[in-house]
């Protein structure tokens, strides 16, 4: 007998709901989006006894069914609509033993929806140290439900939960709150008009403007013949409802819960004293940031070299193992390097999200938000913008997605628009090679070298520009800014390794899915443009070059490099580079750099690889490229092409330019349209061009 049960997992944030979900589903998880909106949908499968399968939907964490954001809306949509494919047979509300009072608010609301509901009390391993004791049978009787005690951390209670889910039909669907108590006249009338529907559901339709069955707010109000209640009246009734629910909860807990304050240990208070201290809080935060960046810098070098080597080997192998022809070329020189260009960023992205995940799991992130909120708001951002801004130093794509928990649309939009200014990992190869060309290697004060100082300044420039732009956007964007900042400060916990790893995997997958396809596609297009050219010059490249160098004795390698370089010059992309030369000359670049800039539009890091080809370097050895670049002469001035002026100009260009099609794509998705990414592109490109121009003209 095989049966399928739909289960909805709901609960306050920070209750360990994710851990419960991970315990139930293991790696049988699927992450996607709800149709039509940018809210993450997490689903998984859990095998129950007796051959039954549970389809578990991990709904976004929320404090109440009265939605105040897009993802909280999703919760009501799923729970109200019997025709929704996700509509649950049983709801599992996850609560945390330390915050039972507040968690139960959501529980009583869900219990009133006519859905069999199980209450999970999680983190029971902390009960003793907090001096909490519960009379479970009494609590079950008061709440009219089945309670499962769990410690997701210690993996306790899973089997009991699975059994309870299996036996869901035994659960009562009596509501906790008699809604009529809120306002006798109004609610009695409401029930009389729709005797079939649970009263609370009708109330939600009116207050949340949700539709289900063929009921919506207007049809209810028409049918009941009430005056359409004013918004303020509705609000007052909602407040009354909340008060009544808490009265019920307080009475219930008074009878069933005892807290022995004397035995409660207060680690939280001591930690908070330091971590959000007026001075030390910030010092510690910046120290942690510094550590993270240094660690990422140090630890990712090795895997990145490995990946580089592996893809280079793969490319050569293809070229030698497969028959000569267009397809082989496409594979070896277009697809494989294109894929390599995506994969090489995975170590950095994975590590960054590893650290961010740990900060979130421990509860420290909320303290960061607390510390930074006031400062962020001066710039039109929210305290919650800190995480996306930091994530942007790995890659803007997961960073933009991380803005989903910002309540105010204006603050969220501004965060999305300025995140690309933060120095992402892809800019590093460009920065590094230019810096090594134009900045002296000397050190000041023993440990600080000019080169690393310049790099740090570039990072600060990125952040500074992000903040400045958000300040400007805040002033000029005419969007109503309704913000209410109510942030829970969860207790400190040791991070659960499993949760962290699953999170890292999910974020990395998001990067690959979001950026990977686009980078690959554009790499192939660029390869085509670089490998084919119009007219005779391209097709006869070999002959022409061989004839040109017939009087000089060249070895095969150098000759081949010269041919490649000639081909590139006369390919489609070469002509494009020459065409934009007048545009980039004032910035100190020549057409060769122009080609590199065009091709790095797919992904900034392609800049270095393209330069390698242009300067006819056989391999991508950094030293060789550097030497070649150092030797290049600017045709107009007769001096070095890569001098201080043009180098600075290039650095500034790459600092500001929006050269990442993947970012444009994700911004379009998250802002539901082309308008904002277009504005972003124009603004950033303009800024890049002008600052590069000014830098070059001023410094030359």
């Amino acid at each position: 007998m095989s049966k399928n049960i739909n289960v909805s997992l709901i609960g306050n944030p920070n209750t360990g709901k994710t851990s419960v979900f991970n315990l139930l589903t293991g790696l049988n998880q699927q992450v996607g989006n709800y149709p039509g909106i940018t809210v993450e949908r997490k689903a998984g499968i859990c095998k129950l006894p007796r051959g039954t399968k549970a389809h578990i939907l991990d709904l976004p964490g929320t404090y109440s069914l009265n939605a105040s954001s897009l993802d909280e809306n999703v919760v009501i949509e799923v729970l109200m609509n019997k025709n929704d494919r996700d509509y649950p047979d049983v709801a599992v509300v996850v609560s945390d033993v330390e915050n039972l009072k507040r968690n139960l608010l959501l529980f009583t609301q869900i219990k009133d929806l006519d859905i069999p509901t199980i209450l999970v009390i999680n983190m029971v391993d902390r009960m003793a140290s907090k001096g909490i004791s519960l009379d479970i049978p009494a609590l079950e009787a008061q709440l009219n439900t089945k309670i499962v005690l769990m410690s997701a951390r210690k993996k306790q209670g899973v089997d009991e939960l699975k059994n309870s889910i299996l036996e869901y039909k035994k659960l009562s669907i009596e509501p906790c709150l008699n809604a009529s108590d809120i306002d006798r006249n109004y609610f009695d009338g409401l029930q009389k008009a729709f005797p079939q529907q649970p009263l609370y559901k009708l109330w939600l339709v009116i207050t949340q403007d949700v539709n289900f069955a063929n009921l919506d707010r207007n049809s209810i109000e028409d049918a009941t013949g009430f005056h359409t209640k004013k918004k303020s009246d509705l609000k007052r009734l909602q407040q009354k409802e909340t008060i009544k629910r808490y009265q019920f909860i307080n009475e219930t807990l008074k009878k069933t819960q005892t807290i022995d304050i004397a035995s409660a240990k207060g680690l939280r208070a001591s930690l908070d004293r330091i971590l959000i201290h007026k001075v030390w809080g910030y010092v510690i935060f910046f120290a942690i940031l510094l550590f993270i960046f240094q660690a990422i810098y140090d630890w990712t070098g090795y895997p990145m070299d490995l990946i580089d080597g592996a893809f280079a080997w793969l490319s050569d192998y293809c070229r030698s193992a497969l028959p000569i022809g267009v397809f082989t070329d496409l594979l070896a020189e277009g697809i494989i390097p294109g894929l390599g260009g995506v994969v090489i960023f995975i170590p950095q992205i994975a590590f960054l999200f590893f650290f961010i995940s740990i900060l979130e799991e421990t509860g420290y992130m909320s303290r960061v938000v607390f510390l930074m909120d006031r400062i962020m708001r001066r710039f039109g951002l929210s305290g919650k913008s800190v995480v996306p801004l930091i994530s942007g130093t790995a890659c803007a794509i997961p960073a933009v997605m991380a803005t989903r928990n910002i309540e105010s649309w204006k603050q969220r939009l501004i965060t999305i628009l300025v995140v690309p200014f933060t120095t992402c990992a892809a800019r590093l190869p460009v920065y590094l090679i230019i810096i090594s060309l134009i900045i002296p290697k000397e050190r000041i004060a023993w440990i600080f070298g000019y080169q690393s100082l310049t790099l740090m300044l570039l990072y600060l420039l990125g952040f500074g520009t992000a903040l400045l732009s958000s300040w400007l956007l805040n002033k000029f964007l005419k969007i109503p800014n309704k913000t209410f900042f109510v942030v829970e400060m969860p207790n400190y916990k040791l991070p659960l390794f499993k949760n962290v790893m699953i999170n890292v995997i999910e974020k990395t997958k998001a990067f690959i899915a979001g950026a990977g396809k686009i980078i690959l596609a554009i790499s192939i297009i660029l390869w085509v443009l670089a490998s084919y050219g119009p007219g005779e010059k391209f097709n006869n490249a070999e002959n022409i070059v061989t004839k040109q160098s017939s009087n000089i004795n060249l070895d095969t390698n150098t000759l081949e490099s010269k041919i490649s370089s000639y081909k590139l010059e006369h390919s489609y992309i070469g002509y494009m580079g020459k065409a934009i030369e007048p545009l980039v000359a004032p910035l100190g670049y020549d057409w060769k750099i122009g080609i590199a800039i065009i091709s790095s539009f797919a992904a900034r890091e392609v800049f270095v690889g393209t330069l390698a080809t242009i300067y006819s370097v056989g391999n991508e050895e950094e030293e060789t490229i550097k030497n070649k670049m150092a030797a290049e002469i600017n045709p107009i001035t007769g001096g070095k092409l890569f001098n201080f002026a043009s180098g600075m100009s290039l650095l500034l260009f790459y600092a500001f330019a929006m050269q990442c099609v993947s970012t444009i794509a994700i911004v379009k998705k998250e802002t539901n349209g082309w308008r904002w990414p277009a504005i972003q592109f124009v603004f950033m490109s303009g800024l890049a061009y002008i600052s590069a121009l000014v830098a070059y003209q001023f410094l030359k």
């Binding site: 109440s64 609000k235 305290g383 109510v486 942030v487 829970e488």
Partner: protein
């Protein structure tokens, strides 16, 4: 003069007696800021915003503007 949450000093406890404005977000009540509940100011960020409170056994941070809308009585 009415005393509001914004007037609490660090470590002080008060009882919420009312909400001054209609515009208060429902979420605040749902998090436990209800008349009759005890609220203790734990810490304050620089420039006195946000405020870190313990209200109704929930640990929350709220901005000063909202704190000004919550009337309290010192205990």
């Amino acid at each position: 003069m009415k005393k509001t949450l914004a007037d609490l000093k660090r470590g002080e406890i008060g009882i919420i007696i009312g909400l001054i404005t209609e515009e208060i977000p429902l979420k605040l009540l749902e998090m436990g800021c209800l008349p009759g509940n005890e609220v203790k100011l734990l810490q304050v960020a620089p420039f006195s915003c946000p405020l870190y409170l313990n209200v109704n056994d929930s640990h929350l941070a709220i901005r000063k503007e909202i704190a000004k809308q919550i009337e309290i009585e010192l205990v």
